[in-house]
């Protein structure tokens, strides 16, 4: 039960397109076609853009730096009502010397069930962003053995630490970079998540309600 019915299915499609099957296609160059609406922006302008957008997506942005990062995060965790914290096993937690009381870590050794239970029980999740997109207020995170998928969705509150050098204009840039890595044969995580603020829904009378499935509150810390 692996690839099933593939050839007859694809041959049928080719015949509907009025030709034989094809095995090589030149994809159009998107970079040449996509209009660039923003021109070039400075790093500070990108940060301003990110902050402004986060206002619209109900996400708090706090400017911090490496020295006071621990304090900033502790304050945010306290503002979320304290409780337990879960972090990814990202090496940057050690690099910045971060430690949290009442904390657990997403780790390969803990296995599926434990990692999921820890995330469900945690009041706040803290992760580092791989990319941050100013235009949409998005952080991009990739799954890894030390950073599962459910980590971003199960805890009640979500904090993403964004190193300013990782801020880029918009999703076009992140998609292009990720695709460059794929084409270079790099194996990416099985889940790439573009996260823009907390979970929300407007399913009841079109009224926006935050925290329907995922986090109730999201914050980005810029360093």
């Amino acid at each position: 039960m692996t690839v099933s019915g593939k050839d007859s299915f694809l041959n049928h499609i080719a015949s509907k397109l009025g030709r034989e099957r094809i095995y090589d296609v030149q994809r159009p160059d998107l970079q040449a076609l996509a209009p660039d609406s923003y021109g070039s922006l400075t790093a500070d302008e990108l940060i301003e853009m990110l902050k402004e957008q986060c206002f619209f997506i109900h996400t708090q942005v706090i400017e911090s730096n490496a020295e006071i990062l621990q304090q900033t995060l502790d304050d945010l965790v306290a503002a979320n009502g304290g409780g337990s914290v879960i972090t990814s096993g990202d090496a940057r937690f050690a690099e910045y010397g971060l430690e949290f009381a009442n904390a657990s870590v997403w780790e390969e050794a803990a296995g599926r069930e434990q990692n999921i239970l820890r995330s469900e029980a945690a009041n706040t999740a803290i992760v580092f962003a791989d990319y941050a997109l100013a235009e949409s207020g998005t952080v991009v995170v990739e799954s890894r053995p030390d950073q599962g998928r459910a980590l971003h969705f199960l805890p009640a509150h979500y904090i993403a630490v964004i190193e300013k050098k990782r801020i880029m204009l918009r999703s076009t840039r992140a998609a292009a970079d990720l695709n460059r890595r794929i084409q270079a044969g790099e194996l990416l995580g099985s889940s790439i998540n573009f996260i823009s603020g907390p979970s929300n829904s407007a399913d009841i009378e079109m009224k926006l309600v935050v925290g329907v499935h995922g986090p109730l509150r999201a914050a980005y810390v810029l360093i």
Binding site: G5, W106, S171, S191, S201, I204
Partner: protein
């Protein structure tokens, strides 16, 4: 549910819709607010028209090389240890999914919103196999709890329900004791559904786009339920219509931007994910990943005069500008695909026998065509359908006669003049206060929702007036 959501006659369904003031009010205010949000989000991207052209080009390129990209997708999913199944019919698709469930002895299934699973009647098949199946999208969950009430909008499925209706469904079916505030209702659903995610054996999702060179699927959501469905259960089954594919993440990014802005007026929705089978060392995500690619009539559209309908990215923007949808609501279409795009694709997927009225449920104002982010010429496709339906003599005999008579009258000056002379006296019996209030079918259809003035007394008065002033026009 299947493609067909209501077996009653089209006329009955529309009369129902028109006579439902709450629904009409909800639809029109949703249309207005989504329209404003869409315009703002589109404007912020700058050259929106050029982005639309790009979206159109990407969809056309992919459709033109569909066999190639699906083949590439299959190879890449296999390389990652996943399974891909190509289903020609809805039965093949549902049977395959049921077989996985049976083999796994799975009892509890969580599902995130997917229209193609409705199309293949998967819920029905799995529930018959004895599974508990829970829709986790809040809107869909509300509909499920209300005895599978059909959806009324592509993006906002429970648009037709107000908060008190939802409160009473939750109270009756789930023992909810809170008030009718959307926050409390949603918080309650969150608690119930959390438990379902944690207990589930299998997660089933749709797929906004499959990414061919990555061997993964793309989900675009605001709630995050799709991600939980793909993160927690050990088995993930994704189901996609065969045309929903892009070559790489770069094309996906363009289409996701067009989708989010057109659907809900956001630059990007809260969660956009690209997911596949769990990679080595990762502890959550599916150990067993299946992608089911569904044809179910799509290949008959491919390469036909309706080919462009396959470009659709299901953003719902065409619904949000349609004056007909505004009046009759989503249920009147009797299909899981309502609105202008529904009126185009439902007859293609379900045949004219059941859906020949849908292409006529349009004012042909072309607002849908103007708004479509991938430039599907919707109103032209509706005209094409109408031509085919008339050619196949599928319109009613009475209607054909009425149209023929009207055609003759309108194309002959002499006959038109004669008819006008009799129009005023003849219409007197049918009129009150200068308005026609009774009449045959064609007239009734009009006066149900609008005024129809009684014809003026003096026949062809404009011509008579012009004749009197002969030569005066230019002076």
């Amino acid at each position: 549910m299947s493609l067909q959501t209501d077996k009653r006659e089209f006329n009955e369904r529309t009369t129902d819709g028109i006579g439902n003031p709450f629904m009409r009010n909800a639809v029109s205010s949703a249309q207005d607010s989504l329209k404003t949000r869409r315009l703002t989000a589109a404007a912020s991207l700058g050259d929106w028209e050029q982005w639309r052209t790009l979206g159109q080009q990407i969809r056309q390129h992919t459709l033109k090389h569909l066999d190639y990209y699906l083949g590439q997708l299959a190879d890449n999913i296999e390389k990652k240890g996943g399974h891909i199944y190509f289903a020609k019919t809805k039965e093949e698709a549902s049977d395959y999914i049921r077989d996985i469930i049976v083999k796994k002895k799975a009892k509890k299934i969580v599902k995130s919103k997917s229209m193609v699973t409705e199309e293949i009647e998967m819920n029905h098949v799995l529930m018959e196999a004895g599974c508990e199946l829970i829709e986790t999208d809040l809107g869909e969950y509300i509909l499920q709890m209300d005895d599978w009430d059909p959806p009324s909008h592509i993006v906002a499925p429970a648009l037709h329900k107000d908060r008190t209706q939802i409160q009473s469904v939750f109270t009756e079916k789930l023992g909810y004791t809170g008030d009718e505030s959307p926050e409390n209702l949603a918080r309650f659903a969150r608690t119930v559904l959390r438990q379902k995610f944690l207990e589930a054996d299998v997660g089933i999702t749709g797929c906004n786009f499959a990414v061919a060179n990555l061997g993964a699927i793309n989900l675009v959501t605001n709630e995050g339920n799709g991600d939980l469905t793909a993160a927690i259960p050990k088995t993930h089954i994704a189901v996609m219509g065969m045309e929903r594919i892009v070559p790489t993440l770069e094309e996906m990014e363009v289409l996701d931007n067009l989708l989010c802005r057109s659907a809900v007026g956001q630059k990007l929705t809260s969660y956009i994910s690209v997911i596949g089978p769990s990679a080595s060392g990762e502890t959550d995500g599916p150990e067993d990943f299946h992608l089911v690619v569904v044809d179910n009539g799509r290949s008959d559209i491919l390469g036909s005069e309706f080919n462009e309908a396959l470009q659709c990215i299901r953003c719902g923007a065409c619904l949000n500008v349609c004056p007909v949808y505004r009046h009759i609501g989503g249920h009147a279409y009797g299909s899981i695909y309502p609105g202008p795009i529904g009126a185009v694709i439902t007859p293609l997927l379900g045949g004219y026998d059941d859906y020949k009225e849908l292409p006529f449920a349009s004012s042909l104002c072309a607002a849908c065509t103007d708004v479509c982010p991938v430039k599907i010429p919707l109103h032209e496709q509706l005209i094409l359908h109408r031509q085919k339906i008339v050619k196949e003599k599928r319109t009613g005999a009475v209607e054909r006669l009425q149209m023929k008579t009207a055609g003759r009258l309108l194309s002959s000056r002499v006959l038109f003049g004669k008819a006008l002379r009799f129009a005023n006296p003849a219409s007197r019996l049918l009129s009150r206060h200068g308005r026609i209030v009774r009449g045959p079918e064609l007239v009734r259809g009009w006066i149900n929702t609008r005024d129809l003035s009684q014809p003026v007394k003096q026949q062809d008065s404009f011509r008579a007036w012009l004749d009197k002033r002969k030569g005066g026009a230019g002076q």
